[in-house]
Amino acid sequence: MPRLFIFAIGGTGSRVLRSLTMLLAAGVKPVGGREYEIVPVIIDPHKGNEDLKRTERLLWNYRSITKEAGTGNGFFSTRIATLDDIVPSGNQARGSFTFGLQQVSNTRFKEYIDLHQLSAPSRALADILFSGKSVNKHGQEVDLLDVEMDIGFVGNPNIGSVVLNQFKDSDEFRVIASNFKQDDRIFIISSIFGGTGAAGFPVILKNIRGAMANTGIDGRGFLQDAPIGALSVMPYFNIETDEKSPIQRADFVAKTKAALHYYKDNVTGNGSVNAMYYIADDHIGRPYKNDPGNGGQRNDAHFVELASALAVIDFLSIPATELRCDNGRAQDPVYKEFGIRNDAGAVTFAELEDGTEHMVALRLSQLALFRKFVDEALEAAKDKQPWSMDAPALDGRFFSDTFHRTHVKEFLTAFGEWLNEMAGNQRSFAPFNLSGAIPALVKGRQPDSGWFKKNVDHVLLNEQLNKTAKGAVHDSAHSKLIGLFFKATEHVLTSRFGLNAPQA
């Protein structure tokens, strides 16, 4: 199976990856039906970043679910692997989704570049290039050269581009290079208005396209001509004004313009990327807390991150013939943006264009219905309904086991949090009424009713589960749980709510 290596850089990278994981869990697939194994690599020096930590936890739960249940069950139908998973002799228990940046913990930037070891002219140049102020992890103002990098690059791509250049000599890059096959693809997710993403994207891209010059790695040819997609997230949220903070909303646009100018010559202008996706939102919503990183940086999920995750799905839908490269140069590069039908402050499925709606509405609704059932009706149904009792049994023991209690339950809880965060954000994405009854679950969609129509409730869902389970054969109880709920929720939502199945 071909692979998609995703480099998710910085806090935005983690947040977009979080949305992508939710979409994949819901069963969203690229058009064309080609299967890919996803290998995410999160690049962020800020290991204490809450967005990174919860994305990594989410990925682990996803991976654990597919390891037990397989990927042929509708939900969780795309394999997600760590780099260690793809190495035949890799220690799969030890794997990680994060890139191990060296020498950033408790290290000031001037120590990282050995400023005191440099010659006088080089030191003078460094003083010029890295002049200015920033904050340390205690929130105190410091010179840029004195920044401790374990809270990230604090909106300073100039120091980020130096530190992230270690990527080309890393074990991770060597593993990717030696396992990269002809049909594999690469996608890079970064923001353009901060520090880590803006710095990391061109560095990683340059090292992949320039792989032929790197004698320390295998598989250089495939890597040099790899189909590469990239997402550049431009400003999409507002932050609180804090004069002491190095992060200022006013700088976002200036930084974006500067970076785009750089990309014009060094990224898009030289044909390094086959498919470039741009996304931004100028909707002025409720500002985020101004946290340069020392507060843990936990931002609520945002609709733009979901739309950004769709760029990955779109990239996988592009036929290989349209992603050709020659000597590290894309032959027919494409540039894409994302739009919605109405400039609404509260986005529901009705505001999405038809293609997007067909891709996500049914699948997300299915996962939302699965979560609702697990929260509200599972306890009463287990060991009572035939779908639970038929072999392999989904009995009390199964539901108290780690697979369900930890991985599935925790994932579904995180899915609910993700939806609630997007619903509470501005611009909001609130297509569901999560606390209401099932008929009110999908906003703008009422289930059909009539004299001979049964009410849409947990009873009906149990009956659909019983019908689906009748005579069905399952490899394991784990795959049965995931597969049954996918099929039953799909049937209820298509037959009663009129949601359409996505194009195959």
Binding site: D383, K384, Q385, P386, M389, D390, V459, N462, E463, N466, K467, K470
Partner: protein
Amino acid sequence: MTDLFAALYEWFGLLPYSRDMGDHLRGWDILCESYTGTPWYVYMGWLMFAVTGLLYAIQYHIWDRSSFNKKHHWWLVALAVAGVNFLIAFTIPFNAIQSGDHCPDLYLTVPDCLGFGFSNALWGFILFVVITTLPFPRRLSTNCRQTTFWKP
């Protein structure tokens, strides 16, 4: 057939009602000459099968709801099976007593009717247990295929 049902209803000789009631149900005619009257045992036997089968079909295949498939629902239907069969079996000889529509030599009493009703109810219940314990046709039900007298 009469002998088969008679053996069942009379519990192979234990007889929960009088011998006279047994003769009446066998079809002892109103002229008290031969067993050419209505063969009640056969009628009641088939009716018991039909009633039990109908109530089984209603729960397992017609109504067939996930909200009506627990063991207490099974017991509720079993009670209905027993109740309906009791009523039928009690009413028919009771009406015969009331109207005098039987051989006048036979001494039929209300306790006989109760005994026959009880016997019919018990066989209906046993039949219901058997039908719902065997995997077929229970397995054809969507929502009650796991429902028996002891689970879920």
